[in-house]
Symmetry: C2
Subunit: 354 residues, 2 copies
């Protein structure tokens, strides 16, 4: 297919991580970039051999730009996306779609009324292990799932300064829940369907910023199944997702060191399956067997961008559209409300009030 | 030391598992046994080469019995222990100490007024991995702990018949939470101190009995730290305890197949430590290192019995006395009340009402 011509908008660290990934794809061609900071524009443009524009308006007027890759701060997503959609540009935005539901719904309306393609970058469901787990559940091979345990964290909170947007609850509410946990929320809704209600303990720990750095959330799904999500900014990096089903347990673990180098993430991940090697009537005489599951390599950041490019070219639906991204955000907001108010919160409650 | 002469009271499956362990100890000598079922008495007596008594009263009158190992059903613990303590016998009881707090407190009073030694069999804290984790926390070597994730389950709920006491909420309230999870609750209070409050989602899943078979609980401790506990009777066996601290994460995993064969449990367990191999200012350029932690072998069921025997001989305190066992039970009861009422429950609330 003819590569989709994209422009990078917002040129912080993550714009570079993403560009490293999508410039490996034959389906995407980076043509220009924009940041308010000229030094960042020069650096990005030089690194990736693309053009640059001096304003968002100028970039959006270009006929050779079909789509924008939005990595501006979370609280600026809505404004940028409204402009881009109004200009007829397709939109990729980094997760979370926004940090409040009003902004999330503004984005959803702007996309729907412009009729452009849209994808929110919950790349984790493109990890090979997640694809394999989804297959095991869909085929029924592991039996019926009762619960999942997911955890995602790193040391980011230990280094936060008062001036860092990540430490500001109005810019990154719930810290690691908004920035990391939302990946696992997408994974959990991918595997189990919509969350119904949540409870969360969360607080700032081992930091001087006022934002939560450690949060533990339990969830009940509309299906009746349950899940736990641990998110932490006060420890070395980790990412796990463990599935408990009637005939097997699955343990997926990846080395966070390689998260943002998405072509290598696969090599540093394992999916272990536990099942019975023998099943005696005597419960003291049953032996479990662990076996490594082989699964197809993926490049999660490149692959999500190829899903987006396919939607631009063919009009086919993406996996993670605005409605689903809003629903992922609603779970974050429900969990934070739960942590602040010490009570169980339903997703319906937060959606109704948005 | 002179071995403590013990009698086994209640001769179900677990009495055999325990006897296999404590008959390996030089500090314990099994002299007699009792069950209302003569066939069970004959079998146990023949298997372990000990005597047998036709009534509990006769057993408790024997001068050559110093202590009783109580493995009668949970709801009969209090009556048996009151009789034993009144007869001046030291008491080991299998966990949980009881299934309601009134019984737990009856046991605590009976032990204290008789002045006998008492230990409740939360053997899991005698696992080598738990000892090593406690050492890492106490020394400060892994930094400050923010959260722990613990999980313990097996397939028991998938086989429950309507007549099985395990499926009856009045005999085994909360199923795997009472029977398995209480081990992890003891581990968590061993590592982080007293639990302050809890929230739990729990329900019967993949069973026809009315008892919960899957429960997910989050806890906040008086220290401010947090933990999650997953308990499940609808999947293959598993036991994990993961600690997240500012300088390292610790992942402890054991193969449940070998749980009740306590001299081999050690060989089928691993403790993995994650820490930074290099720490660049650039978060995309930090590499984590996993390393297996070596720790001393233990035999958790034998070792807890040796702690008990030592207390009998020396009068020194045991690790898990009646007050602590009641506190472990209180966390179970708070979690179940939370699951039934859909709200956060404090330990103070359930203790005040007992």
């Amino acid at each position: 297919m003819e590569p989709v011509r994209v422009a990078a908008v917002g040129l912080g660290r993550w714009a570079n991580v993403l560009a490293d990934a999508y410039t490996r794809s034959d389906n995407v061609k980076l043509v220009t970039c924009f940041s308010r900071n000229p030094a960042k524009r020069d650096a990005f443009s030089a690194r990736y051999g693309c053009g640059q524009d001096e304003s968002l308006e100028a970039l959006l007027r270009r006929d050779d730009v079909e789509a924008v890759i939005v990595t501006v701060p979370n609280d600026q997503h809505a404004g940028v996306i409204e402009q881009a959609a109004a200009a007829g540009k397709h939109v990729y935005v980094e997760k979370p779609i926004a940090i409040d539901l009003a902004d999330g719904l503004r984005i959803q309306r702007a996309i729907e009324s412009a009729g452009v393609a849209f994808l929110c970058g919950h790349s984790a469901r493109h990890l090979g292990g997640l694809r394999a787990i989804k297959g095991f559940i869909a085929s029924g091979e592991i039996g019926d799932v009762s619960m999942i345990e997911a955890t995602f964290g790193n040391e980011r909170g230990l280094e936060l300064k008062a001036t860092d947007w990540r430490g500001d609850p109005s810019k990154a509410p719930g810290g690691p829940l908004t920035q990391l946990g939302v990946h696992q929320i997408d994974n959990l809704q991918y595997l189990l369907g919509p969350v119904k209600q949540v409870f969360c303990f969360g607080k700032p720990m081992y930091t001087s910023v006022p934002n939560e750095t450690v949060l533990q959330t339990v969830m009940e799904f509309e299906s009746g199944q349950m899940a736990y999500l641990g998110t932490n900014w006060a420890c070395p990096g980790h990412f796990m997702l463990n599935v408990y089903a009637t005939r097997s347990n699955l343990f997926y673990d990846l080395d966070f060191s390689w998260w943002s180098n998405s072509k290598t993430t696969y090599e540093h991940s394992t999916l272990m399956r536990t099942q019975f090697a023998s099943f005696s009537d005597d419960p003291d005489n049953r032996v479990l067997r662990k076996s490594l599951v082989q699964f197809a390599p993926t490049d999660h950041l490149r692959d999500e961008m190829e899903d987006f490019a396919n939607a631009v070219r063919t009009g086919e639906p993406v996996e993670i559209d605005a409605a689903l991204a809003v629903r992922n955000l609603a779970v974050v907001i429900a969990a934070l409300r739960s942590a602040h108010e010490g009570r169980m919160v339903t997703i319906a409650e937060v959606l109704q009030q948005a």
